[in-house]
């Protein structure tokens, strides 16, 4: 083995410069920078902004969970809402038991999410594409109907979840809650990043490209597909558990099919192939309703239009808007926000190359 000879100028700074110079580097830097700026703004921008930031952090975790399955491993599923429900109801059902203290419910939710994820991957061993999608839809309805039945039998108004506490620390609201959620997000993000750098990520990429090509290369398609479902289930369930802490209860109505579709919209809008894209999509889809709620009436009023119909049908109109947004993204920019940034980056590169070439001649 040859030892690495340290080159002149090799340090964290030079490494950062090199990472920035790589194709896609500026895009990642811009996206990551914007997300960080948003995260800081949410921390210090007042209680309402802070509240939105908390939701963003939770849905960013959920979007990461879905992007493991659909972005990294190339599978499809409509069951994101079901896995969030699993996390939320696990958390709710553990409250009042000796297992109530945080983070036990979070971990328990992740474990159950992992196990159900494994099982939910089983149809994927025989089916692909549309059939797999139908199987995931079935899971969504099974989980939701179980949650519904349990909830109406025992807690009609939703299963109460105690305020988030870590030992003596009260993390149940405000900045403390926000930073707790961000910390979980950071851990999940780092874990996903680290795992996907290894052979596991390579196996997932291979089966995303082509299952036959992957199998011929020696990749055990069955096994890695199941692990993708399991890992995705665990992370998405963690988001569900945190969401239950955020709203103080587990209510099956929060986890209907519409949520699964929102989660898919998030990862497509941000950029299906990238983790940062999943975060960006989660932030866009989570903040958009608040933005519309606050501003749309004003904008419409400015145009001389009556905004009353919007205020009255807000959630339906928003759902329609998001579906439209999703369609537009899939039709015109399949790689989402990240794809747009990458295109811009390429254009800038081509232009500066052109300019230097012109200057040299």
């Amino acid at each position: 083995m040859t030892a690495r000879t340290p080159k002149a100028g090799e340090g964290p700074l030079a490494g950062a410069v090199r990472a920035l110079a790589r194709p896609g580097g500026p895009t990642r830097a811009l996206l990551g920078g914007a997300l960080l700026a948003g995260a800081v703004y949410a921390a210090f921008g007042g209680p309402f902004i802070n509240l939105i930031g908390q939701s963003c952090a939770v849905f960013a975790i959920a979007a990461l969970g879905q992007s493991i399955l659909m972005g990294s491993a190339g599978q499809v599923a409509f069951s994101g809402g079901a896995f969030m429900a699993i996390g939320a109801f696990t958390t709710g059902m553990l409250s009042g038991t000796p297992l109530e203290p945080f983070p036990i419910p979070l971990v328990a939710g992740a474990l159950i999410g992992w196990a159900v994820g494994l099982v939910s991957g089983l149809p994927g061993l025989r089916f692909r594409g549309l059939y797999l999608l139908l199987a995931s839809l079935a899971l969504q309805f099974i989980v939701l109907s179980l949650a519904h039945t349990y909830q109406s039998a025992h807690h009609p108004a939703g299963v109460l979840v105690p305020p988030l506490r870590l030992g003596p620390l009260d993390l149940s609201s405000g900045r403390a809650l926000y930073f707790t959620l961000l910390a979980v997000l950071a851990v999940v993000y780092a874990a996903a990043w680290a795992v996907e750098r290894t052979g596991v990520g390579l196996a997932w990429r291979a089966l995303r490209e082509s299952e036959v090509a992957a199998a011929v290369s020696g990749v055990d398609v069955t096994r890695w597909k199941l692990y993708a479902f399991a890992a995705s289930g665990a992370v998405t369930a963690m988001a569900g558990s945190l969401f239950a802490y955020l709203v103080g209860r587990a209510d099956y109505q929060s986890y209907e099919l519409a949520l699964s579709i929102s989660l898919i919209t998030m990862i497509f809008i941000g950029g299906i192939r990238s983790r940062l894209g999943a975060l960006a999509g989660a932030v866009v889809i989570t903040t958009l309703p608040y933005l519309l709620q606050n501003n749309l009436s004003v904008w419409l009023g400015g145009l001389g239009l009556d905004a009353g119909w919007y205020a009255a049908n807000q959630s339906q109109v928003n759902a329609g808007l998001f579906s439209l947004l999703f369609l537009l993204v899939v039709l015109f920019e399949p790689h989402g926000v990240e794809g747009i940034l990458l295109k811009a980056e390429r254009a800038v590169r081509a232009r500066s190359r052109h300019r230097t070439a012109g200057g040299a001649s």
Partner: protein, 259 residues
């Protein structure tokens, strides 16, 4: 070292009620280059699919050395010393050459995969070192860090062959290594095959270019409509009347008819 023969005996394949292969019998001797020729739809790729466990035959036996290959899952083939290159290069465009080759050694255990580095920076762990060696063997060391999509189709094909070789396989199934490769670059593929043969690898080769197959193989098997027409020395097979009629001679025959 490599003294295992591939023996295929009486293999039938039916897919959706259609018979794709009928009583296919042949053997590939250790260390030889064995070409399979025939028109489109003759069943050439299906034979590779049978050998690699993607397609299950309805009758017949298939052995490699002492190993019964029937019922073995595709991803276990490399464990039996069998590697296969892909006909298409449309996949894995954004993997680097090194990463694609490393894929050929990726462990299927969680612990193994987690400690498997496919980046140059982590050469000493996992798959990068053998992958770099396999690329070097085929003269591709310069391309290691380039994304596959940026490479010429000949180089992509060779990288994929390196991927099939990297697990230490001694029987290589090459599915059309010159399809989409320019005439100038075919020499590169021939050279790579020569090197592999020099190392004692057994090669089963499918290709559409008759000149390439006759030039690179010790023996040929000609097929049509899922049946074996003839097995023998390249010249003998190519000059066989049945083979000429089915595969090469259609135009000449029409000429004869006109004359």
């Amino acid at each position: 070292m490599n003294d295992r023969a591939l023996v295929c005996d009486g293999v039938d394949v039916h897919l959706g009620g259609v018979q794709i292969l009928r009583d296919v019998t042949f053997d590939v001797r250790p260390g030889e280059s064995f070409g399979i020729v025939g028109p489109n739809g003759a069943g050439k790729t299906t034979i590779l699919n049978v050998i690699t466990g993607i397609v299950r035959p309805t009758a017949g036996t298939l052995r490699y050395g002492d190993t019964d290959l029937l019922g073995t899952a595709p991803h276990r083939m490399r464990g039996h010393g069998i590697g296969r290159s892909l006909q298409s290069t449309q996949y894995f465009k954004d993997l680097t050459a090194l990463q694609l080759v490393a894929l050929g050694r990726l462990p299927n255990s969680v612990a193994g995969a987690l400690s498997f580095g496919a980046h140059r920076r982590r050469r000493r762990t996992g798959g990068s070192q053998p992958a770099a060696e396999a690329l070097e063997l085929l003269g591709l060391a310069d391309h290691a860090e380039r994304p596959l999509g940026e490479l010429s189709s000949a180089v992509q094909k060779l990288v994929d062959i390196a991927r099939a070789v990297v697990a230490g396989t001694h029987l290589l199934l090459l599915d059309e290594p010159t399809s989409g490769v320019s005439a100038q670059e075919r020499g590169m593929v021939s050279d790579a095959l020569d090197r592999l043969r020099g190392l004692g690898r057994t090669i089963v080769l499918i290709d559409h270019d008759p000149g390439f197959v006759t030039g690179n193989c010790d023996r040929l098997m000609a097929m049509n409509f899922g049946q074996v027409l003839h097995v023998g020395e390249p010249d003998e097979v190519m000059n066989n009347e049945t083979v000429k009629r089915s595969y090469l001679g259609e135009k000449e025959e029409r000429h004869d008819g006109n004359a």
